[in-house]
């Protein structure tokens, strides 16, 4: 009989996550008790304050030595802190987009097209649950890249996913599509979670441990039958690759990107990617590194297919959100080269890329929320033509983000691409380098097509217009644009910081 030892928790280190959870709970209480009229503004304030305090507490513990906490289920190290900081920064600018309530349904429980819905719209009701839901998701995301225990990893995965499933269904316009997207996301997400758990089971069977360190030890001491390890890695990877939207586990992403309220898409596309890739980097770098000859060929194949497929299919898209979805698939492929690189430069490059890409993504979707007609957002690309004439600044900002996605020099995307491809090549993968630049060339085609549409085509007269952005949206777009170009022109401080900080504690 084993004596039960009460767990020790390092509260100072866990503070960033705990603060976010506390903020989320306060949000729930506000939903329950505050008068309807006061909810929106107080929720926004609480959410922003929570994220800011969390970021501050993260900065406070940044210099503490790498260590494990909460009974080795969580590890605090340089890379983890950087990923957490990226998630928080991206969340802050994404939450500002949520503040624009026009995107969300008035009352989520009403049936689309019903009288109830009409009444709720007339009463000018607002869903304010989005804020605590977002905070719950953020808490999960903060935990995800730090988790060093498969069970904790799974809990974090579900914690970040469940609120996102809900958020995806809350669109104000085209609600059926939004709800369909949410359901699709949920079902496929549940499916991938099952795979993930299966992988956990196999890994436990292989190593008799659920901690990353335990698996690592088992991999090193492996003497013969690695079939369980292989199965475990495969199934676990399916769960993770689903979250990052890599081919062939990408099927959900175009529909969900399109159906979800754009502000949610922005948050999901940017922050989830950081969290999921963070977790992926950790488990592959820490636990599976020594078994690389077993998983690397498969992962290289997936990366190549993902890059090429995402870039090619994006060309055919007529909807800006779907186009950005396929572009994000292509970028998932580029980011996988950071995992494949399996070296320090790969880790540095991935973290830089994740942050730069996340910020630009939020900015790009921020612009998408602005282009509207009387029936809501206009995402049909044909109707974006001539945008540069009507609202030069909005179009210029969007063009800037697209150029960053395309990896044109003097934008953050270029530095990201350069560093991640050189890391992959350094590790010996010429295929990644060649396919990477070639699919970048394909991808450039559809980014440029949108720029042509906005600047070189005459406006269509169908009531599409750009709304005057609210101050929150303005902040989001301006901050994203400034960061995108600043990181392109002078990335040195961030690169140096990442280089000196980023490391995984094994």
């Amino acid at each position: 009989m084993i004596d039960f030892v009460s767990p020790t928790l390092e509260y100072a280190l866990l503070a960033p996550m705990l603060i976010v959870l506390a903020g989320a709970l306060i949000g729930v209480l506000i939903e329950a008790f505050a008068p309807r009229s006061a909810r929106a503004s107080s929720q926004l304030f609480i959410t922003l304050a929570t994220l800011a305090i969390s970021l501050a507490s993260l900065i406070r513990v940044r210099n503490s030595a790498s260590t494990t906490a909460a009974m080795e289920s969580v590890t605090f190290d340089g890379a983890g802190m950087l990923l957490q900081a990226s998630i928080l920064v991206i969340s802050i600018i994404a939450v500002l987009l949520l503040a624009d309530q026009e995107n969300f349904t008035a009352l989520a429980s009403t049936l689309p097209g019903s009288d109830e819905e009409r009444t709720s719209l007339q009463k000018d009701l607002r869903v304010t649950e989005i804020y605590p839901l977002t905070l719950f998701a953020v808490a999960g995301m903060l935990l995800f890249p730090l988790a060093t225990d498969l069970i904790t990893l799974f809990v974090a995965l579900e914690m970040l996913s469940l609120p996102l499933y809900l958020l995806a269904g809350l669109s104000r316009r085209r609600r059926l599509m939004s709800q369909e997207a949410a359901l699709k996301y949920f079902l496929l997400g549940a499916f991938s979670s099952a795979f993930f758990l299966m992988g956990v089971a196999y890994l436990y069977g292989y190593s008799a441990s659920t901690t990353f360190a335990g698996i690592h030890a088992a991999v090193i001491g492996s003497t013969g039958n690695d079939i369980y390890l292989l199965l475990g890695i495969a199934f676990l990877s399916i769960g993770l690759l689903f979250k990052v939207g890599a081919v062939p586990f990408h099927a959900w992403s175009p529909d969900v990107y399109q159906g979800a309220p754009t502000a949610v898409t922005a948050f999901m596309a940017a922050a989830t990617k950081v969290a999921a890739f963070g977790a992926m980097l950790r488990i592959f770098y820490v636990s599976f590194a020594e078994a690389y000859w077993q998983w690397r060929p498969a992962l290289i194949a997936i990366a190549l297919i993902t890059m090429v497929f995402g870039s090619l299919v994006a060309i055919a898209q007529r909807d800006v959100k779907r186009m950005l979805a396929y572009s994000s698939i292509a970028h998932a492929g580029f980011l996988l080269s950071g995992v494949i690189a399996l070296n320090k430069t790969g880790l540095d490059a991935s973290i830089f890329y994740l942050f730069a890409y996340g910020v630009a993504t939020v900015g790009a979707f921020g612009v998408v929320t602005l282009v509207r007609d009387s029936a809501g957002e206009v995402t049909d690309l044909n109707r974006w033509s001539g945008l540069g004439k009507r609202s030069p600044w909005v179009a210029t900002a969007f063009a800037g983000f697209l150029l960053a996605f395309a990896g044109i020099p003097l934008t953050s995307g270029f530095i990201g691409k350069f560093s991640i491809f050189s890391a992959a090549y350094e590790s010996g993968s010429t295929a990644i380098l060649i396919t990477g630049v070639l699919s970048s060339a394909i991808a450039a085609f559809f980014y440029i097509r949108v720029i042509v549409l906005m600047f070189f085509k005459d406006p269509v007269e169908d009531g599409t217009s750009v709304v005057i952005p609210s101050i929150y949206t303005q902040i989001t777009i301006v901050v994203s644009a400034v960061v995108t170009f600043a990181l392109g022109i002078y990335p040195t401080p961030l690169i140096d910081f990442i280089q000196s900080t980023a490391s995984f504690l094994r």
Binding site: P409, A441, R449, V452, Y490, T492, D496
Partner: protein, 510 residues
């Protein structure tokens, strides 16, 4: 006062940017002020460029006006500038052409989608990048300018051109981006290799030694990444198809910058990057490249003969000329290389003259079809004479500057590849055809109906074209100032990487 310490290169790149800032604060309605600011800025930059040339030490073969600051130390990237004779000549050409383009294209911004402010801001930003791309001594910095440069040109063609301007702009951009991304692969290759062999750097002088440790296979691949990018830029058959469209659709001023300066980045890159960094691979691929160059010379010439549109005609002649330049470079003789560099300089001015006069003609007639002109000699003598001289310069008439360079290229090539040189000589014959036919049709003969009332060049246009023609004529008789700048640099490139001039094959008294 020692000008060498003044960071003249940075200054010359900073000035246009300051001009852009000034333009940003100019009200949209004061178009004249906008143009004046743009002109003043470009003239100032030209003065700085001339100062640089005056203070340049002709005898020293290395980089001068050197500046270096760390940019991204983690990747070994420096903001490193410096110019040798070849770069100086090209920078000089760029900074002289830009104000001329501004004067000649005084009203070019009017047909555009956007305001004059945008037009001149794009030109000024482009000027900064043109200087930067020639002045970089850091491969990464070069790449940044090389790629970022596409953006202003893209908007200049697509926003202010005529006809199918958007399509032409996209074609230009996609071709260039494709080449650029191949080059990025090679740059990553260089980066990883230089890290692997102990010295993480992008410094061109250090990297010149890298080829000694590369496997031939690797060197060939890295070379190809660079070469294809450059061959798209200075279009070599069969990668040329974007050029005629872009040149036809862009405004004459933009075309001058595009063909005169931007495409030279390609040929400049072949010298600075292909030859210097990958000498062995350059030798391996030379037969192929010389063949492509000869094909370009003849193919461009034939297309030019058949061209009905005056702007397309000039673009095709340029393809032929770029063939000569590439041939001169890969002949790997001092004469060939000096000739090719001088050719780049001269081609900049003769193309500028052709395009600018063509622009004057087109703006008067609202047509760019050669058949619409006729008998201009009688109606507008000054315009006609300018076109004639520009045309003669393009076909390399002795006494005009291009003759010297074409001769040097052919002689330099003949010593090593006599067959190629002989075939290329037919290009000169064809040049006579493609220039004299339009000259005859547009300038001589009876005045085509509709042309009787055309006005001759006005003062502004004369001011723009006069310096170009002056340079063409003066350098035709006395090319040594420019050759003196080029020769030491060309000798360095040839000798540094172990290329040798072939010994004279005929020795007397033996």
């Amino acid at each position: 006062m020692n000008l060498a310490n003044m960071n003249l290169l940075t200054l010359s790149m900073l000035l246009p940017l300051l001009g852009t800032v000034a333009l940003a604060f100019t009200p949209k309605t004061s178009v004249l002020l906008t143009k004046q600011i743009a002109l003043a800025t470009t003239v100032l930059v030209a003065v700085v460029g001339i100062l640089m040339a005056i203070n340049f030490d002709f005898k020293s073969p290395g980089f001068q006006f050197v500046e270096s600051r760390p940019w991204v130390p983690a990747f070994g990237i420096n903001y490193a500038l410096g110019i040798d004779g070849i770069a100086l000549v090209l920078i000089l050409m760029s900074v002289l052409l830009t104000p001329i383009v501004v004067i000649a294209g005084w009203n070019e911004s009017e047909g555009g989608r956007w305001s004059a402010k945008t037009f001149y801001s794009l030109i000024l930003v482009l000027e900064t990048m043109m200087i930067g791309v020639f002045a970089s001594t850091d491969v990464f910095l070069f790449y940044v300018f090389f790629e970022a440069m596409l953006v202003p040109v893209y908007f200049l063609i697509g926003g202010f051109g005529s006809g199918e301007r958007a399509a032409a702009a996209v074609k230009f951009l996609l071709y260039s981006l494709f080449g650029g991304l191949l080059m990025l692969a090679s740059i990553i290759g260089i980066f990883v290799m230089s890290t692997r062999y102990g010295n993480r750097t992008f410094d061109i002088t250090t990297l010149a030694g890298l080829h000694t440790v590369l496997t031939p296979m690797m060197e060939n691949f890295l070379f190809l990444g660079f070469f294809i990018a450059f061959a798209i830029k200075a279009p070599l058959w069969p990668m040329h198809t974007w050029l005629p469209d872009a040149a036809k659709s862009a405004t004459p001023g933009t075309s001058v910058l595009l063909l005169g300066v931007l495409d030279k980045v390609g040929t400049f890159g072949m010298i600075r990057y292909c030859l210097t960094l990958f000498p062995e691979a350059s030798k391996t691929f030379t037969p192929l490249i010389i063949t492509l160059a000869v094909i370009s010379i003849l193919y461009g010439a034939f297309l030019a003969i058949g061209a009905k549109d005056i702007k397309r005609l000039i673009a095709y002649t340029s393809i032929s000329h770029f063939g000569f330049i590439t041939m001169g470079i890969f002949a790997m003789t001092t004469q060939g290389l000096s000739g090719a560099t001088l050719y780049m300089f001269n081609h900049g001015f003769s193309t500028a003259a052709l395009f600018l006069v063509a622009g004057f003609m087109i703006s008067r007639r609202n047509s760019s079809t050669i058949a619409d002109f006729g008998g201009l000699q009688r109606v507008t003598p000054i315009m006609a004479w300018s076109f004639f001289i520009a045309g003669m310069s393009s076909l390399a008439l002795p006494g005009l500057s291009s003759f010297v360079s074409e001769f040097l290229v052919l002689v330099g090539t003949f010593t090593r590849y006599p067959v190629a040189a002989v075939i290329a000589t037919f290009g000169i014959v064809l040049a006579a055809l493609y220039i004299l036919i339009p000259v005859q049709r547009a300038l001589h003969g009876p005045t085509t109906p509709g042309n009787e009332n055309l006005t001759d060049l006005n003062l502004r246009e004369k001011v723009a074209i006069a310096p170009v023609i002056a340079i063409i004529v003066v350098l035709g008789f006395y090319p040594s100032p420019i050759l003196n700048i080029i020769n030491p640099a060309a000798t360095t490139v040839i000798s540094q990487q172990g290329f040798t001039d072939p010994a004279p094959t005929i020795s007397e008294g033996k």
